[in-house]
Amino acid sequence: MSNSKLYKGSLTTIILKLLNENDKMYGYEITQRVKELTKGELKITEGALYPALHKLEAEGLLDVEVAKVDNRLRKYYKLTETGTKETVNKLEELAEYIKTMQALVNPKLA
């Protein structure tokens, strides 16, 4: 993940949020979607994305579906029921964090 260490702690929340909005996504698609949504500001590296995806899968938050696409297999990730619940928690947590930071950095806006 490039740009800033500040983004690193939010990687799993970003992944969960994207999967919550889309039925299923594959690794490369996630990196491109993040790049597109942040207009290139945030670039998720392969070295950061896959460990996060595998960890979420091991924790039972993500499920995997494999399909054949253009002469190769593609691994799609989708949220499990637990994953959907966890997404809500993680997003609330992140919103709370942003609010707290806002109060510290810019008290007038908070």
Binding site: Y26, G27, Y28, E29, Q32, T45, E46, G47, Y50, P51, H54, K55, E57, A58, E59, G60, V66, A67, K68, V69, D70, N71, R72, L73, R74, K75
Partner: protein, 240 residues
């Protein structure tokens, strides 16, 4: 621009040369690399070689260009370092282990409280008791066989065909089998050493320990079958 079958095969071979030997690890890397290379060629106008080198370093594989002639940059760049891929495999291995353990304990109680398992354990106990009437050794042999059969089933199916041995998931699913097949033997050795010289040895301890081992071993066979079915299906998809 879509890559040709030959170009995809080249990337697959490049991954194998970089010691990504497990097909179930490679499939995800292959799809990512092919997608990224196609994207770079289409949107950035770079060549196949340049795109592949770029993606290679994106995985954390280092490449020192110093002292490498221009015509060798592609070849050297792809095979000089595979540290990123090694890290990828190591991390994946750790998470697969976690996933298997989680699945094992999640289904443990429902399985041991099932009627099916109760019947299996009852049959094994009855046969053990019948054998015990002949001799203690025969009884112990039958009790042990419950564990040995389940573990050998895993080893047999886990190592029978190439796809299973070259799958990281399958390899991890049978990793405990060698230890479990030897456990009864070590338990007997320990028992004999501990009760050496005793005329009436408490053999019931061994029977209890074998029964406990059978519970864990039998349940791990269940999980193994689930993993086997998933990866067998994926391999069929890959080869058709």
């Amino acid at each position: 621009m879509k890559l040709t079958k030959a170009e995809i095969q080249f990337i697959d071979n490049y991954l194998i040369k970089n010691e990504v030997k497990y097909w179930d690890v490679r499939l995800e890397l292959l799809d990512h690399i092919v997608s990224a290379v196609e994207d770079k060629i289409t949107n950035e106008g770079v060549s196949f070689n340049e795109a592949l080198l770029d993606v290679h370093s994106g995985f954390g594989n280092q490449f020192i260009e110093f002292g490498v002639s221009k015509d060798k940059i592609f070849e050297k760049g792809l095979y000089q370092s595979n540290t990123g891929f090694k890290k990828f495999i190591k991390q994946k291995q750790k998470e697969i282990g976690r996933k298997h353990r989680k699945a094992y304990w999640k289904t443990f109680l429902p399985f041991i409280s099932s009627i099916r398992f109760f019947i299996e354990l009852l049959v094994l106990t009855i046969v053990t008791l019948i054998a015990y009437q002949y001799s203690i050794k025969a009884g112990l042999f039958v009790a042990m066989s419950g564990i040995i059969i389940t573990e050998f089933t895993k080893l047999f199916y886990g190592g029978l065909k190439k796809f299973k041995t070259k799958s990281l998931n399958m390899q991890l699913a049978v990793s405990s089998s060698l230890l479990l097949t030897q456990m009864p033997y070590w338990l007997i050795m320990l028992f004999n050493w501990h009760y050496e010289g005793l005329e009436m040895k408490p053999y019931y301890i061994l029977f209890i320990l074998f029964a406990l081992l059978f519970v864990f071993s039998r349940h791990s066979l269940n999980n193994f079958i689930k993993i086997y079915n998933i990866y067998n299906e994926r391999y069929q998809l890959l080869t058709t």
